[in-house]
Symmetry: C2
Subunit: 335 residues, 2 copies
């Protein structure tokens, strides 16, 4: 038996999530018959979580009031009744936002033993973030060498991976992010020019960098970015839509008023969910890990300590306080 703290949804947020939208509850966990209990080291904090708690019907059932907040997380096993989950092993799975989790082993991966520094990347560049970038560019975007690739959220987890993976694929990448300092940092860190959407006319800035337009656009932001991108389509351009972080907090959402440029430029816009490619994850991670090991695919993690800071860590994704992959460390004393 292990005593745990679990973050639950107290009410549906209006606009930006705040601490009052969540509760922290004590639970006593029993180790399941063929499972384990893990102490959580890192939990993934993702923009899509905002849609899960809004009550809308998306690709997953909404989180109910009073329900624990779901999240993919990495933990260390502290109790086990299964040989394949040995004590001390590091595991990744749907453990939620909690100090500890009991698991029967469903959807759990035992992570390779490695340096403590490498561990959090299994939630970032070697996890769903890197995979989202990879399948968006390849399966959805059909990237090929020489393509001009425009990427939003380029200082974030998925966008920064997309910028680097586009370059690895022989394409010319331009990123977009918010704020002078953050853009300069991202350009330095990820090796591609990064335009500041907060400064000046973004459509004109893109046109200056890509006078012939973008062949491939990777978007997880929407809003003003998508509007500006649609003004800069090369003929036959493809837009891989990973998400729309600019819209998740809005009661009244906006679509791109210039979407008919898709007709003019014979372009297409593709929505995708990375989980549809689960059968190909192992092979893709093998590639990502090699490039990461070679230093060509940099992962940056941005760790917020403490369960009580979850709402702020999530809200910060929308105001853009994060650099790289945002994680929550429910037990910061363990790191």
């Amino acid at each position: 038996m292990v005593s745990a703290h679990v973050l639950t949804l107290a009410r549906r947020p209006e606009g930006m999530p705040t601490a009052a939208d969540f509760s922290i509850e004590g639970r006593i966990l029993d180790c399941p018959p063929h499972g384990f209990i893990a102490e959580i080291l890192y939990a993934s904090v993702d923009p899509a979580m905002r849609t899960w708690i809004s009550g809308e019907d998306t690709y997953r059932a909404p989180v109910a009031i009073g329900e624990p907040m779901p999240a993919i997380a990495i933990g260390r096993i502290v109790a086990s009744r299964a040989d394949r989950f040995p004590l001390g092993a590091f595991v990744r799975g749907p453990f939620g936002i909690a100090s500890h989790a009991a698991s029967g082993g469903e959807q759990v991966a035992v992570l390779p033993a490695g340096s403590p520094e490498a561990l959090p990347h299994h939630l970032g560049v070697l996890g769903i973030s890197g995979l989202s970038a990879w399948f968006g560019l390849t399966a959805q975007g059909g990237i090929k060498a020489g393509d001009r690739v425009l990427v939003s959220g380029a200082a974030g987890a998925v966008g920064s991976a997309a910028v680097q993976l586009a370059r690895i694929a022989g394409a010319e990448a331009v990123g977009v992010a918010g704020g002078t300092d953050k853009c300069a940092w991202a350009a330095e860190c990820f090796g591609a020019p990064v335009l500041d959407y907060r400064s000046g006319d973004l459509a004109a800035s893109i046109k200056q960098m890509m006078p012939e337009g973008a062949d491939l656009i990777f978007d997880n932001v929407g809003g003003a970015f998508l509007q500006a991108a649609l003004e800069n389509l090369a003929k036959g351009a493809r837009i891989a839509v990973c998400g729309g972080i600019s819209q998740y907090n809005n009661d009244t959402r906006h679509g791109p008023s210039n979407y008919l440029n898709l007709v003019v430029r014979r372009a297409s816009m593709h929505g995708f969910l990375v989980h549809d490619y689960a059968a190909e994850f192992t092979e893709a991670v093998r590639r990502l890990a090699r490039w990461h090991h070679e230093g060509r695919l940099v992962g940056v993690v941005d760790v917020e300590p403490g369960l009580e800071n979850f709402a702020g860590a999530l809200a910060g994704l929308f105001s853009g306080t994060n650099r790289g992959k945002r994680l929550l460390a429910p037990n910061p004393e363990l790191l």
Copy 2:
């Protein structure tokens, strides 16, 4: 030498085009050395013309003030200096909105001799309208038997062809049009249910007809239709965007605020221009003509008489006065 009347653009319309936006000018035409002069029987009136005269940069250069109004038209040759264009032959080409046209033969097709009733269909179901429906459903939409296909503008030239071609391809088609009478007429004429977007909640009506959502959406309307369609996507749905007639007269255009349903439903939206498939037109027309001959692909033409009625004929496409393919007859006494 032939005396002609030619419609030119007098000024850029604001909102709906009116007669005052155009002039009719007298011209004297000489027969070009290897060409012909034709008297125009039918000129195609198309929603896209509204974008050509707005001054915006689209897939073609905007029509300049004072320039003759371009249009695809069908004429009968009344003077010729070329063996392949004999006197009396019927020809289709970019002759413009005019009583007569001189042509060097560029982009001109000599039409098969047929009944007078068959002639105007070469601007409709056997012309660009039918081809737009065909390539939108096949090359863009990847239609297959059993698909649930949702079509906007189902009482118009392209939409009515799309409804019928979807059924020929073994798909289940549902059309959308405006007005109780028009919907009843289109359903009867084209053999598929047609929903009235002016009556009640369109998204709910679609859901009632297609509870599992649409696999393929063919859209030339945009606006409220596209919004409702995006609420009814089957997983992996494809939207072939042919145009957006609801938006062409608007200074402030609107995009679909629920476009992120593309992500939730792993769907895609494809803009296309039928002219990109020109190399495949001959083969496609062969198929369309066979189905037309068999009575499975009905063409309806809606002929407005008189050059002076061009603006009204064009504006009527946006208020929905047309049934089937709208044509202008510059010389109604010849029909």
